[in-house]
Amino acid sequence: MSFSPDTIAALATPAGTSAIAVVRASGPQVAGLVSGIFAETPLPRMARHADYRDARGQLVDDVLFTFFAAPNSFTGEDTLEISCHGNPFIAQKILEDLLARGCRTAEAGEFSKRAFLNGRMDLSQAEAVMDLIHARSERALAAANQQLRGSLGRHMGLLISQLVNILAMVEAYIDFPDEDLPAEDRQSVLSELKELAAATKQLIATSHYGELLREGIKTVIFGEPNAGKSSLLNRLVGRERALVSAEPGTTRDYLEERILAGPHALRLIDTAGFNLAPTPLEQRGIEKTLEQAAEADLFLWVIDATRPLPGLPPAVAARLTTANTIAVFNKTDLPPAPRGALPQDFPVVTICALDGAGIEELQTMIARLADSFQVETGDELIAINVRHSHALVQAQQALESAGQKLSDKTDTELVASDLRCALEAFGEISGKVDNEKILDRLFATFCIGK
């Protein structure tokens, strides 16, 4: 059996926080990757310490990498193993960069499959490999299905249906030139196409899950002035300082830090304290707080336990649910005021930001809530999501190119070629769309036939 395989890449260690994460790539392109990323000649079986710079030259992490030359590797192909710091965000960045450099995300069990096909495993392992492919793919499939049942799936369904409509309109005039069809209306095809491209772009931009992965879960710390928000932020950040990089907030009105809670990356945002009767100066800070709250995934409501329960600005209150909010009663070292009834049955934790009491419990609680945002944390899941955004970007480019051709009055067959490219890309997310679907739509729309 002969292969001319492409180069595949995937996370080799389980997703989540650990000391080290390993990203692996295998295939003919690997030697080129070593010189491209690290500007070094690949030397087999030598662990090298180097800076990982992405395709745009930005520093991602300092890593250890090892190159294995074919056939002396696990897969029997040229292989690269990159050990980076065990932050999912970093591993993800590296994986994305490898894809940008022309690698493909590995299918379930593909490294093992290649190892077997290249004769690196004996026959007795064949069945084990098959079971592995099966098990992993079931898990990946389950994760993908779970996701596809959600908003992404509904979005994809709509996009594909729109695209099939457009294709049917274009194909009808190619396949049935002698029919009595309504006059070809490139303008309306173009406007539908623009709509679809915009919707695709929006999906890429708002792809929430991808954002959670890339940017971390946006967590807003809010509460009255002096409730202890900044102490809490420092406390949470302090424990993780070795692993986080501080990023100053983009305005002076709030401060943003990255932390890890369990396996999750969090963007922790400290906001100006709100006050229901603010001075004009405070008013500006509160507006910023509201802006942040509008986009937040997770809320830490810091309450001064020594004071009566404060009221909430309605815009903030409307966003709070028991699934995204933790009520943090601070200052437990001081005598408490009588505790008022919370507006909802939020999970509650009592802490002392000054000495750190209760912080671990809070972290556990944050991790538990964050867990519910992710459908699964298996490695394939992350791969699926990088794949998603890749596919969507490809689709969007193909759609824009088709739109350009429609305006330029280029031959219809080339417009159709771009549209099919886009359909193929959508299909990578939600399953291949059979050509028959286009014909079905076409026959349902146009009276065709002699």
Partner: protein, 627 residues
């Protein structure tokens, strides 16, 4: 009686468009061939419209020519109107189409068969097949004469238990005026081949001198006809090989004395007549069980399903030069005869039209094509090949293409050679057969360009270039023609490279062509090439980016296409395979991983598992799932 103790290499049952190409291909490859037909006078009869080609079909006909078939040249020399469709949509989807003189078309093909060495034609109706040890060895006929053959190709069209409907009136037969092959179905069933019913229909024929053409819109042929056969690579030995035997010349110079078609429309009165009589239509009264084609709806369907469309376009197409019969394209129906008369008379120009033959619907048996290998040999019965409408297709071109492939493969089977398989990326014939054997069909299958994922590679002018590997490997063309095609391939490649690398003002010639703005005329040496070489070269230069995108996709798929699945594999016993996939694979029995991957419901992980399993089987005999 037994006709001869020495079996023929190939017996072809049926002389429609599939049967004709099948027996020609087999006999031209040197196989002793017998063609059995129920009626020698209806060889290569166009049972429906008098036209060859059109969207995607035109490309198929050119592919048939590239593989040594007869349909293209026969259309060229008996065509009475030629049009190139889709001139404005881009070169890849342009398709030649021709109206043919039905009788001339038939006669020339009949004559071709008569003069073909290694081929014997005999008039007899096949009543059953003769099997021995699970293989077919011959057939029985209505004359009680048995014929023995090493291989048998069945090309029965709509004749297997054919039943025609005109309203409530029913007649057995595969075509108006012809018989029905009734007992052959039983023979196929006995061999374990599953049969199902399909339906198709044809419109009324009318007398030309009863048509009032004034006021109708004329549709003329192209002044410069686009022909189907590759005349540029044909020599004297290829061009009119029938005529060159010294026999009487048949046909005429292609493209001369073209005739016109005419356009008219249905009226509100037509709609009223159809609606008021819907209950009398065989289709609408539940008389017909078979599934009809969506792309060829009856006039009843058009009015019912597209009620907002005020009128429907009809074409009046002449059936030949020496007949006054016209075909009303677009008026297929199974309404009773009296309603048909009223309906025809409600149409402008046809107020006083005289009907020569009524419209009718015909139901017939077909054998779901997933029961075949891509060679078109039955999986159930060795040495039995099926081609044409019996495989659930529709159209002369689709039938002829299958006939050609079945004929070549039957001859190769007799010689003990592996079959010719045309891949999906090589041509529409590849798409056609792959769709049939891997996906099957629930309506009469017609080719559309949109079925082909690599449509941009299938421009009609490239057919003999892209299929050269097959025509050359299997020696389907004369030595001289093969050499000329090879030279043409080299010339196109030379000039393509020349234009890509030679500089002109403001870039290479190729860059200027792609920007559609060469500042000066292209080099004279290039302009001195044949128009076929120029057209193909410019196509490849202009569309380079798109063609490269196609090539990349094909490369990706090629690896899995090459991995054959052993026929001994038991999909149901493979550990790790999902149950749904295992059942689908068991049902369709793909022969390679490429086919397996195109079966809906089979996902990449399943393909991976098969790949591992097959590799394991190769490395050591006996592995899970392989008996």
């Amino acid at each position: 009686m037994i006709y001869s103790k020495t079996p023929f290499d190939v017996i072809v049952c049926g002389a429609g468009h599939a049967g004709v190409e099948a027996c020609l291909a087999a006999s031209r490859m040197g196989a002793t061939t017998l063609l059995l037909t129920g009626n020698i006078d209806t060889i290569a009869q166009m049972s429906c419209n008098p036209a060859i080609g059109g969207q995607a079909k035109g490309q198929i006909v050119r592919e048939i020519d590239a593989l040594g078939g007869e349909m293209a040249i026969n259309t060229d020399v008996t065509g009475i109107q030629f049009r190139l469709l889709n001139e404005s949509k881009g070169p890849a989807v342009q398709s030649p189409r021709a109206q043919c003189d039905k009788k001339a078309y038939q006669l020339r093909l009949k004559h071709t068969l008569e003069l073909q060495p290694n081929l014997q034609v005999f008039q007899a109706t096949v009543t059953g097949l003769i099997f021995e040890a699970g293989k077919v060895v011959g057939c029985r006929t209505n004359l009680d004469v048995e014929f023995y053959g090493r291989t048998v190709i069945i090309t029965t069209g709509t004749f297997l238990r054919g039943l025609m409907h005109v309203g409530q009136n029913k007649n057995e037969g595969g075509r108006l005026g012809d018989f029905s092959a009734k007992t052959l179905s039983a023979s196929l069933l006995e061999a374990g081949i599953e049969l199902q019913r399909l339906k198709t229909g044809t419109p009324p024929r009318i007398l030309g001198r009863s048509i009032n053409f004034s006021g109708l819109q004329e549709q003329k042929g192209d002044p410069e006809p686009t022909l189907f056969a590759f005349h540029d690579t044909r020599g004297a030995e290829d061009l009119f090989h029938v005529e060159l035997t010294g026999e009487r010349r048949l046909g005429w110079t292609p493209g001369t004395e073209q005739v016109s078609c005419w356009m008219t429309y249905t009226t509100p009165e037509s709609e009223r007549i159809v609606r008021e009589n819907l209950h009398k239509s065989a289709m609408y009264s539940g008389e017909i069980a078979g599934v009809g084609p969506r792309y060829c709806p009856s006039i009843e369907d058009k009015f019912v399903r597209f009620a907002d469309k005020p009128r429907h376009l009809l074409f009046l197409e002449p059936e030949g030069r020496n007949t006054n019969e016209y075909y009303i394209n677009g008026l297929s129906t199974s309404l009773p005869f009296d309603v048909q008369l009223d309906l025809v008379h409600s149409i402008p120009g046809l107020e006083h039209a005289q009907l020569l033959r009524p419209a009718y619907a015909v139901e017939y048996d077909f054998a779901p094509p997933t029961q075949m290998f891509p060679s078109l040999e039955s999986r159930k019965v060795e040495n039995l090949f099926l081609a044409g409408q019996i495989n659930g297709t529709s159209g002369y071109e689709e039938a002829a293409a299958q006939g050609l492939v079945a004929g070549v493969n039957a001859a190769r089977k007799v010689r003990g050679e592996p079959p010719m398989i045309i891949q999906r990326h090589e041509g529409y014939i590849g798409v056609l057969i792959d769709d049939l054997v891997t996906k099957g069909t629930i309506e009469p299958y017609r080719m559309f360009t949109s079925r082909a994922e690599h449509r941009l590679l299938f421009n009609h002018g490239s057919a003999e270039l892209r299929l050269y590997e097959h025509s050359n490997n299997h020696k389907l063309l004369s030595y001289n023609r093969l050499s000329r095609i090879s030279a043409k391939i080299k010339a196109v490649e030379y000039w393509r490279a020349f234009l890509e690398t030679t500089k002109s003002i403001g870039g290479t010639w190729a860059e200027l062509i792609r920007r559609s703005d060469p500042k000066t005329e292209l080099p004279a040496e290039f302009l001195g090439q044949t128009k076929e070489i120029k057209a193909e070269t410019l196509y490849r230069v202009k569309y380079r980016g798109y063609l490269e995108r196609e090539y990349r996709q094909i490369e990706k798929l090629k690896d899995v296409e090459k991995i054959n699945i052993p026929s001994s594999i038991d999909f149901l016993a493979i550990p790790g395979l999902r149950r749904e996939s295992a059942l689908k694979l068991h049902q369709f029995k793909p022969q390679n991983l490429g086919q397996a991957s195109r079966i809906s419901g089979v996902n990449p992980a399943d393909i991976s598992i098969l790949m591992v399993l097959i590799a394991a089987g190769k490395r050591s005999r006996g592995s899970p799932g392989i008996a």
